[in-house]
């Protein structure tokens, strides 16, 4: 069984390579986590300390005491709500464009082109508009903006996933006694579940990481964590542990979400997402 032997060897080499690469990529994240648990001395010690002598939770305690941690909650509210909204509205739009050819052949292309506008080009007009509307530093203001920004992406992606559903599956449900709305829930959403989750994750991550609009459009009430982190970059260097602790808080939700949805994420990517 020489061939089997060779295959085993091949697999072992591949696994080793994959492990090495994973370790390489995980290292900075490991380092970030460790810094948040170190004392200031340990952070700057040379040679570097791979592991803190004792896990320090003081940085986190400070974040929660001073209210810095609530900016993570703000981010969660803004990103979560805007994701749900963008997914819901966007999927319905995508269905309409895919199945009823709403807007003809080019509406989908026009919509995705909206996503290519550099945010910096519109941030000032939007700021003025928001001042006038009284939306600056409010949850609805930021949620509205992120929803609008994510809609083109959601529509484009979901249109591709919906086009991949054999139309007979929808027709069969319509003949079998379902209204179009019921059919969406019974057929279209389950059939595109992997795509829905993959798209939702990207939408969420965009809103989660967004900085420019959050910086310009928030003051104190709905400051997001990305904006909060920048407040630490002053002259004093002993904020490193705080920065890293904040970064850990900001990374955790993404870890958790991706961890839970990994199954769908991989399938969502491999499905025919790119469709003209």
């Amino acid at each position: 069984m020489k061939a089997a032997h060779r295959n085993r060897l091949k697999l072992a080499v591949r696994l080793a390579a994959a492990t090495l690469i994973t370790l390489l990529f995980l290292f900075p994240i490991y380092w970030l986590f460790m810094i948040s648990f170190k004392t200031p001395d340990e952070i700057f010690s040379y040679p570097p300390k791979w592991w803190p002598a004792q896990l320090q939770f003081s940085s986190y305690a400070v974040l929660f005491r001073d209210g810095d941690a609530t900016t993570v909650l703000n981010s969660l509210i803004v990103a979560g709500t805007s994701t749900v909204l963008a997914m819901f509205i966007g999927t319905l739009c995508a269905y309409s464009i895919a199945r009823f050819r709403t807007g003809g052949d080019n509406l989908a292309n026009w919509i995705i082109s909206q996503r290519m506008v550099p945010p910096i080009a519109v941030v000032f007009p939007i700021f003025l508009l928001y001042v006038w509307l009284g939306l600056v530093d409010t949850f609805p203001g930021l949620i509205l903006l992120y929803t609008a920004f994510n809609l083109p992406y959601v529509i484009w992606m979901m249109r591709g996933y919906i086009l991949d559903i054999p139309i007979a599956l929808e027709e069969a449900a319509l003949v079998d006694g379902y209204t179009r709305w019921q059919m969406l829930w019974k057929v279209v959403f389950p059939m595109s579940r992997a795509g829905l989750f993959a798209t939702a994750i990207f939408t969420f991550v965009f809103a989660w990481n967004e900085f420019l609009f959050a910086l310009v459009l928030t003051r104190t009430e709905v400051t997001t964590y990305t904006v909060q982190v920048t407040h630490y970059f002053g002259g004093q260097s002993n904020f490193w542990s705080k920065i890293s602790a904040m970064s850990v808080l900001g990374t955790l939700p993404i870890f958790i979400i991706v961890g839970f949805m990994q199954r769908y994420l991989v399938r969502g990517f491999s499905l025919g997402a790119v469709k003209g």
Partner: protein, 367 residues
């Protein structure tokens, strides 16, 4: 009462005129097969009946009610799709129950109906499986089961067997036919396979380029086609068409081929052709209406034709012999050992009682 009545139906896809004025009335309980070449509008007609496409002109009545503006779900129809249209994320049981759930049927009733249908289709051992765990034939049974539990007024099938291999197709054909006998429901079945049409139909509706070319009982169409198209569409191997002309013979009319042969028509057939002497016609002869001439065979209407066989294709019980007749290739369906090798010269007996004559100008059958 008729379950389906279609009047002057038209359907356009943009510029494409897919259905061009179809009138059709289907009595309750009949098994109707819509047949025709690819692209002739069979699916379009069926989908318009189902309400999946909107009619551009004309009316569709189901059970005496005009349903043009009804959504598919309000038309009291069940449909079986070509690619089964089963939901991959539902077990077989749920797939079959899908239509019943839409109508808020009580749980116990759903269970009873699903199990009964599954039993009928011999898939009761598969109810807990997912569609991906089934073979093509099993998938098709599930798809049929999903329609059967519905107890609809009208059952529509769009080429349900075209994805199956030949043997399974034969089997399912019989099964659907039996299902029709057991349920007594009105069924409309689309296929482009003329054998499927012949074997299954109470009535065949032959479509051509968006119009009904002819409709009637299978043997009616086979034996009395109205046009050359119908004659050529039904039957395998296809009917032979030979250019000829009509001339006056001793006592009846003769069909004269371009090779000079004259074939005498029986007396009984001449009345209809009165006044057509000297005209060009196309002679239509089915392969099975030619046989090896036997000495002393005196049945009336048989004429002898000397043929030199170019190609011999045995199929078992029958052998197809190809030869030149007039200016075309013709095929005769002979008994297995009537001819053994190409080059052989044999006498063929053509049954002139069964031939048809076609007007080459209009392609209509004239006698």
């Amino acid at each position: 009462m008729s379950d389906l009545k279609i009047t002057a139906l038209h359907k356009y896809y943009g510029e494409v005129h897919a259905v061009k004025g179809v009138d059709l009335e289907i009595p309750a309980g009949e098994f109707t097969v819509l047949v025709g070449q690819s692209g002739c509008g069979k699916s379009t007609l069926l989908r318009t009946i189902a309400g999946l496409e909107t009619a551009d002109a004309g009316t569709i009545e189901i059970g005496g009610e005009v349903v043009n503006d009804h959504a598919p779900r309000d038309r009291d129809i069940a449909m079986v799709f070509q690619n089964y249209a089963l939901y991959p994320y539902m077990k077989v049981y749920e797939n079959i129950a899908f239509g019943l759930r839409a109508r808020r049927t009580p749980r116990a009733e759903i269970d009873a109906k699903v199990r009964k249908a599954a039993q009928m289709l011999a898939i009761d051992h598969l109810l807990e499986r997912y569609p991906r765990q089934l073979s093509g034939g099993q998938l098709q049974r599930v798809a049929i089961g999903r329609a059967v539990v519905r107890n609809a007024r009208l059952y529509l099938f769009d080429e349900p067997l075209s994805n199956l291999d030949a043997q399974l197709r034969d089997e399912m054909r019989g099964e659907i036919k039996r299902l029709h006998q057991d349920l007594g429901k009105t069924m409309i079945y689309v296929t482009h396979d003329q054998i499927e049409a012949m074997t299954m139909a109470d009535r065949i509706v032959l479509l051509r380029e968006g119009r009904i070319e002819q409709q009637g009982a299978p043997l009616d169409l086979y034996e009395r086609p109205a046009t050359r198209y119908v004659a050529g569409f039904l039957g395998s191997p296809t009917m032979n068409f030979i250019d000829a002309s009509l001339e006056r013979g001793n006592d009846a009319l003769n069909v004269r081929l371009c090779d000079g042969t004259s074939l005498a028509l029986p007396m009984a057939r001449t009345a209809k052709l009165a006044g057509r002497e000297g005209q060009r016609v196309v002679l239509g002869v089915r392969p099975e209406h030619m046989s090896r001439a036997l000495a002393g065979d005196t049945r009336s209407g048989l004429v002898r034709y000397e043929a030199r066989i170019d190609l011999v294709q045995p199929t078992g019980a029958r052998t197809y012999a190809t030869f030149r007749m007039g200016d075309t290739e013709a095929v005769a369906e002979l008994l297995a050992h009537d001819v053994s090798q190409p080059g052989e010269r044999i006498g063929l007996a053509i049954d002139m009682n069964r031939v048809i004559l076609i007007d080459p100008g209009s392609d209509a059958v004239i006698g």
